[in-house]
Symmetry: C2
Subunit: 323 residues, 2 copies
Amino acid sequence: MNKGDEEKRTMMKKLIPNKQIVLNHYVTGYPKESDFGLRSSTTSCTLSHGSTSSAVLLKNLYLSCDPYMRHRMSDHISHSGTIVQSFTSGSVLVGYGVSKVIESTHPSFKEGILGMPGIAAYAGFHKICYPKEGDCVYVSSASGGVGQLVGQFAKLMGCYVVGSASTKEKVDLLKHKMGFDEAFNYKEEYDLGSALRRYFPQGIDIYFDNVGGHMLDEVILHMKVHGRIALCGMISQYNIEKPEGVHNMFSLIMKRIEMKGFAETDFRHVYPELVELCIKYLQEGKLVYVEDIAQGLENASSALVGIFYGRNVGKQVVCIAKE
Amino acid sequence: MNKGDEEKRTMMKKLIPNKQIVLNHYVTGYPKESDFGLRSSTTSCTLSHGSTSSAVLLKNLYLSCDPYMRHRMSDHISHSGTIVQSFTSGSVLVGYGVSKVIESTHPSFKEGILGMPGIAAYAGFHKICYPKEGDCVYVSSASGGVGQLVGQFAKLMGCYVVGSASTKEKVDLLKHKMGFDEAFNYKEEYDLGSALRRYFPQGIDIYFDNVGGHMLDEVILHMKVHGRIALCGMISQYNIEKPEGVHNMFSLIMKRIEMKGFAETDFRHVYPELVELCIKYLQEGKLVYVEDIAQGLENASSALVGIFYGRNVGKQVVCIAKE
């Protein structure tokens, strides 16, 4: 680096108040608010203009509460290369969100509310499920952040789409706001198999799985030949000690089914096409979204715990600041 | 059809002795010889030369005993479009084999000992697993008809290949005759996970599954990120009332694993390239095969029952006639 560059540098040091939600200890079973703590701290920040390295100072506006975070709250034997590592006890709960840039020495940056659930829904449906017009699509946990987008992407492709959720309110939203062809409350179905036969008398081409466990096991029996199953999440399994067994694996052979686990981390490259598509659809009124917004970081733990009981209606976020 | 065509016809009627193995009743648990009967009958055959329809009269030389046949011996709720339907009680056990053409009015026909296991191994490995040089490949039931070919195809691709089998004799065959890098007797492993860690310290890229159940469940934990699992058969599950549960499904998401059931019936179109390749490899001495040949139809039931106890060493066939 030459002297001129060095002279261009402007050092800015700031001491900034920073409230944080921390994990008190590893979680067993369903998470409780007492598993988390609210910590007031300060963070120091140095932005060096003219340096070869660059930095961005962000103010968080919204935080995202997502089911996958539960997995990081358990003490796992680490599998190298897996998508998420466990938090450590006492560490900040890291997640997605929407931020405002306060200062930046970085020439380009992106912010995005379509971040994680958007990529997971878009890539999971379009890149994993090979959808085509007329396909029969089933989405579980359909009113959640990912599910509601998957269903709408599927409708925009000309698919027949059925979603399941845990309350009448959510079912109504799916049918009357998000444009699903059908929706049902799985908690009111004595026999899940009967429900699936009712909505899919010819079988299911695509299952977008957000719940895993018994639901996945049953759905396999209702798949069509050459069906595709995208494994996005398994929220029914995160809070139990031993995951439920999936017994109907032989049907995967009988019906030549493709089942694929995926993670949005592998699809960051589709972000530009996703943003372009979603902005277009939003402007045309063809895409809607339902958010459940908790106010203030002091309500973040409660909001996060709530998603594992299905208390959220739509995508759960926490509003920290409006601007 | 004009009169000239009709005059060209030559009608040939034949009454031919035809011994058959029939299913006495649906099978529960492991099949027993008493589940099957040997029936002597005759079959009539009319070959009409010059007809628009054509026919072939075959003499069976070898019959193939394959694990998938077990599935047809149970009374299933029929799933439309699945690859195999149940036999009916009293019906002939239909299967694959090698036949000699006695008479034919058909302009072209094919016979082939590379039939089912050949296509399953070739298509399952090359079209489902996306293998590349250096991949770490695990094959269960590796000395069987499909497994022994998969392992050799993988070695020819430059993969590291480990197989498991049920006896020392089979393990020796895998290592010393079929060229597997390593092989182990799973019955002698107290902890399957330890065995897999020993042979795959860096994890498994490709698992070619012939057994299903607990083996599949454990292998999932040892897969690498972006691993591929080809579900070819689940011989460990065919004789039990309720299939074992696979509990480690969440790892499919964590490691973005693709798991795909397949059937040779979807890959008949690769038959020409398979035959060409195998003839070349056989002539060059790069492909070997081990068969377990039972003599005579009266020993067919015993041979068929034997494969579910792992009594066969190599691909089980029944020799009906040498020519």
